[in-house]
């Protein structure tokens, strides 16, 4: 297991480097710079600004300065007022650089403020979705063929088919205006996170329900479940202790893509509910040509997705010795 994780870490570093380099060049390839505005800047000022953020350096040098760890700026981190004494700078030294669009903040500041919020929202959405979806799927499987099963399946498919912004708008009308239970937007208390979590989690819950139902049905048809029943165990024990793990396995495997889906879904939900999470930074940094923030967000996103995939693979190995033997 340790060797497996170590190898994954090495691959992670390689992947990250590739992703960072690719994003770096992609971003510079698109037209439009971070200091463009309807009212044009004086050319001298524009030149100064670009120099301050090293945008006049050759691309390879900009990339090297961004990655670090050696400080390539003879005058220190000029954009934020350094005096040239810093030896280490760049991502490898833990410095994501100043934001180009939010000139008062460093990328580290912005991420530090917004990531916990997105994580909280995402975990809330995921937990809720898994709980609700699992319950619905198990009930659906156990009561297979009944109207309840049909109703649950229809509801699940409906939520799979609706874009999250539609669900979000309906939720706002129902739970913020018709019955004013929750605030309509903004952030500050746990109540502000409920509607966004519901909107984010709805398609996840629907998928989990389908997966759990299918997994449960498969397991319920297995011999060992029949054996357990034949032994006279109460139905609830049979379902919860013997059949449920079989339903959990496909769900556990789905958690990776589910979390990634929560990450992307949060872009829309955070915009609609004005939640100051990292999702808005994704889109806005690319649109604003905020190179450093976009790179920082890319790195974080990459790390999260990679970590999730690794986690899921770890689950696989723990639960399925055969796959463990294969993948070695």
């Amino acid at each position: 297991m340790i060797r497996f994780l170590a190898r994954r870490l090495v691959w992670f570093a390689a992947t990250l480097l590739a992703v960072v380099t690719l994003s770096f060049f992609l971003m510079r390839a698109v037209r439009g710079g971070p200091f463009d505005a309807e009212r044009r800047l004086d050319p001298t000022i524009e030149r100064n600004l670009r120099a301050r953020y090293h945008l006049d350096w050759p691309l390879w040098k900009q990339l090297a300065a961004y990655l670090g760890p050696i400080n390539l700026d003879a005058h220190g981190a000029r954009a934020v007022g350094g005096d040239g004494t810093r030896v280490f700078a760049g991502v490898l030294a833990g410095d994501f650089g100043p934001s180009l669009a939010y000139r008062d903040q460093t990328v580290g500041d912005l991420l530090r403020e917004s990531l916990p919020i997105s994580l909280a929202l995402g975990s809330l959405a995921l937990l809720g979705a898994v709980a609700v979806g699992l319950a619905a799927g198990v009930v659906s499987a156990v009561r297979r063929g009944t109207p309840l099963d049909a109703a649950l399946r229809v509801v699940a498919t409906v939520f799979l088919a609706l874009p999250s912004f539609v669900v979000a708008s309906v939720l706002v009308i129902l739970l913020a205006f018709a019955w004013p239970l929750f605030p309509v937007a903004g952030f500050g208390t746990w109540r502000h996170l409920v509607l966004p979590a519901l909107a984010l989690g709805a398609p996840i819950a629907a998928n989990v329900a389908r997966l759990a139902r299918t997994g449960m049905l498969e397991t319920l048809g297995q011999d060992f479940v029949r054996t357990a029943r034949a032994k006279g165990l109460p139905e609830r024990i049979v379902i919860l202790r013997h059949a449920l793990p079989g339903a959990l396995l496909p769900v556990a495997s789905y958690l990776g893509p589910a979390a990634a889906g929560v990450l992307t879904g949060s872009l829309v939900v955070e915009r609609i509910f004005a939640i100051p999470g990292a999702g808005s930074h994704f889109v806005n940094s690319a649109l604003n040509r905020d190179y450093t923030l976009a790179m920082g967000v890319t790195i974080v996103y990459c790390a999260i997705v990679y970590a999730l995939n690794t986690l899921v693979d770890v689950f696989h190995r723990l639960l399925d010795p055969r796959v463990a033997a294969e993948g070695a």
Partner: protein
């Protein structure tokens, strides 16, 4: 399902059911605390803020709070609340009023101004506000290394242009600030101008010309040289002299301002705390207002405009902004002014303002918006009805060789930046050109920065534009179409126009207005731009909020606000 197929071996695997469920339980228990940690992180920072006395939606998150560097309206609002310059604008009439300067003297030739600073005015760190602060701040503003976009507005000050543009290879000014006509003498600040500037006080009231505290900057540099340029802007370090101070700043969430009790006019500031929320999605902004979370919003979704406009709390007034299409006069067939005029005449402006924008905008037939005070303005020649305009448009096209039987005008591409309202307007215009003139038009939306870049490169046929005024001066609208102006971007150049504008820059009333009028007439005869409509403000204001006044610059400062029923 693929995943079940994958795991079928697992179910048959020798691991017992109890063992599997044990492992799963372990996993759940391990991940649970992890998620709880994430949740507490989000709230652990003291996320729970007590409600502010008043809140409003500011729009996009401000890029910076450094007065010298700001350009956009959301930033201007916050800076006006935090800082105060020599002169401020009256909230109702926009007339210049004493700010940090108690009084001022203007020399008879209009070239020298002396501002007497208010005694007893202090910064939030206790320092008195002195003329030295202003000299320091103006030097900082004009220094090209600061990157101040509005430095060029001060080039009327003697020596300013040379100081700001004559730089060495490191970008530092070669001349000393002694060569610039801004000097602090005891309690007064003296400013010398190159030429008389008729609305100089109005210019000085712009938030970009607010002072900054030198000690604050120096302490920031001493504290952490690596982040000196931005460290001083943090809430616990920022030193201000305006009606409010910076209490909290949460990017993309809110900026919380607290009353500055040391402010000279603090007795008239009603609110202890104010929140400026950052929100961009229009539906969300309206929802925040309708649930009472905020007291003022200035944007709404376009298709709600009609319903909202009927409300009591909706206030609309003409605004000093214009919406127009730039035409690339370097590209045939747009080099023919008859074609441009035909296109301009065939725009159904009343349909656009009544059916698309619907918030009180006015059809525009000029370059300077009708909201401009004390300005009669020239107007593009047009008939009384749209149908007559269409007749004239068709006649012009025929004259230019594109009529029936003549050449076919190639499809025109209308470029706009990605926004629903721009798309709607473009669709109406394209529809009109197609139905009435038989000209096909393609709509091309581009993301904002690419759009700006395309416009700058003159890689367009017709490109959507708007211009918002900083001061109530027609010069600002007209000077951008001179030949070498960076904001021209149409390829249009007319020496008579340039000459009129140059004359206006040097003259005083009434010659100044005459020169500007002449320039506008030339512009509207040539039509390198197609005027469409003049903006109107769209403010939804809580009826309980007092001290809120409509004005043509749509400037609203929280200093004057109060709750009516308290």
């Amino acid at each position: 399902m693929r995943l079940v197929a994958e795991f079928r071996p697992a179910i048959l695997a020798p691991m017992s059911a109890a063992g599997r469920s044990r492992t799963l339980r372990r996993i759940v228990f391990l991940s649970g605390p992890g998620l709880l940690v994430a949740a507490t992180l989000a709230f652990g920072r003291g996320a729970r803020l007590p409600r502010a006395d008043c809140a409003f939606v500011n729009g996009a998150e401000p890029a910076t709070l450094d007065p010298a560097v700001i350009t956009a309206i959301p930033e201007g609002r916050i800076v006006r609340a935090l800082f105060e310059g020599l002169v401020v604008r009256d909230p109702r009439t926009l007339e210049p009023r004493p700010g940090m300067a108690e009084s001022w003297d203007e020399a008879p030739d209009g070239l020298a101004w002396t501002f007497h600073l208010r005694r007893g005015a202090r910064w939030t760190n206790g320092d008195p506000v002195t003329a030295d602060d202003f000299e320091f701040s103006f030097e900082r503003l004009l220094d090209p290394r600061t990157g101040a976009a509005y430095a060029s507005q001060l080039f009327c000050v003697s020596g300013a242009r040379a100081f700001a543009t004559d730089v060495d290879e490191r970008g530092a000014p070669r001349r000393s600030f002694e060569t610039v006509g801004i000097r602090a003498r005891a309690d007064a600040l003296e400013i010398r101008l190159d030429r008389p500037v008729p609305r100089f006080l109005d210019l000085l009231a712009c938030p970009q010309f607010s002072p900054v505290n030198r000690r604050c900057l120096e302490e920031s540099r001493a504290r952490d040289p690596d982040t000196a340029e931005i460290g001083w802007l943090r809430p616990d370090h920022l030193v201000t002299n305006g009606p409010f101070r910076l209490l909290e700043r949460r990017p993309n969430d809110r900026i919380r301002l607290a009353k500055n009790h040391g402010y000279w006019d603090a007795d008239h500031v009603a609110f202890e705390t104010i929140d400026a929320l950052a929100a961009e999605h229009l539906s969300t902004i309206v929802n925040l207002y309708l649930t009472g979370e905020v007291a003022w919003i200035d944007q709404q979704p376009a298709d709600l405009a009609v319903r909202l406009a009927r409300r009591e709390d909706f206030h609309s007034a003409p605004y000093l902004g214009t919406y127009f299409y730039r035409v690339n006069v370097a590209r045939p067939p747009f080099d023919d002014p008859r074609v441009r005029r035909a296109l301009a005449l065939a725009i159904d402006r009343s349909a656009i303002v009544q059916r698309v924008t619907r918030a009180g905008e006015q059809p525009l037939y000029a370059c300077v918006p009708p909201a401009m005070p004390a300005w009669s303005g020239a107007s593009m020649e047009h008939a009384a009805t749209f149908e007559e305009d269409l007749v004239e448009a068709r006649r012009l096209l025929a004259e230019a060789g594109f009529g029936p039987g003549g050449r076919v005008l190639r499809p025109i591409s209308i470029q706009y930046n990605t926004r629903e309202s721009h798309k709607d307007v473009a669709e109406v215009i394209a529809d009109s050109w197609s139905r009435n003139l038989g000209i096909r038009a393609r709509l091309e939306n581009q993301e904002w920065r690419v759009f700006l870049d395309t416009q700058r490169r003159m890689d367009y046929d017709v490109s959507r534009s708007s211009w918002i005024a900083d001061t109530a001066d027609p010069y600002g609208f007209l000077e951008i179409f001179t030949t070498r102006n960076d904001n021209n971007r149409t390829g249009w150049s007319d020496p008579r126009y340039d000459e009129s504008i140059a004359r206006a820059a040097r003259a005083v009333e009434p010659e100044r207005s005459e020169a500007l009028l002449e320039a506008e007439r030339i512009l509207l005869a040539e039509l390198p731009i197609l005027p469409i409509y003049g903006y109107a403000t769209k403010n939804l204001v809580d009826p309980r909020l007092g001290g809120f006044f409509e004005n043509p610059l749509d400037e609203h400062t929280p200093k004057a606000w109060y709750w009516k029923d308290r």
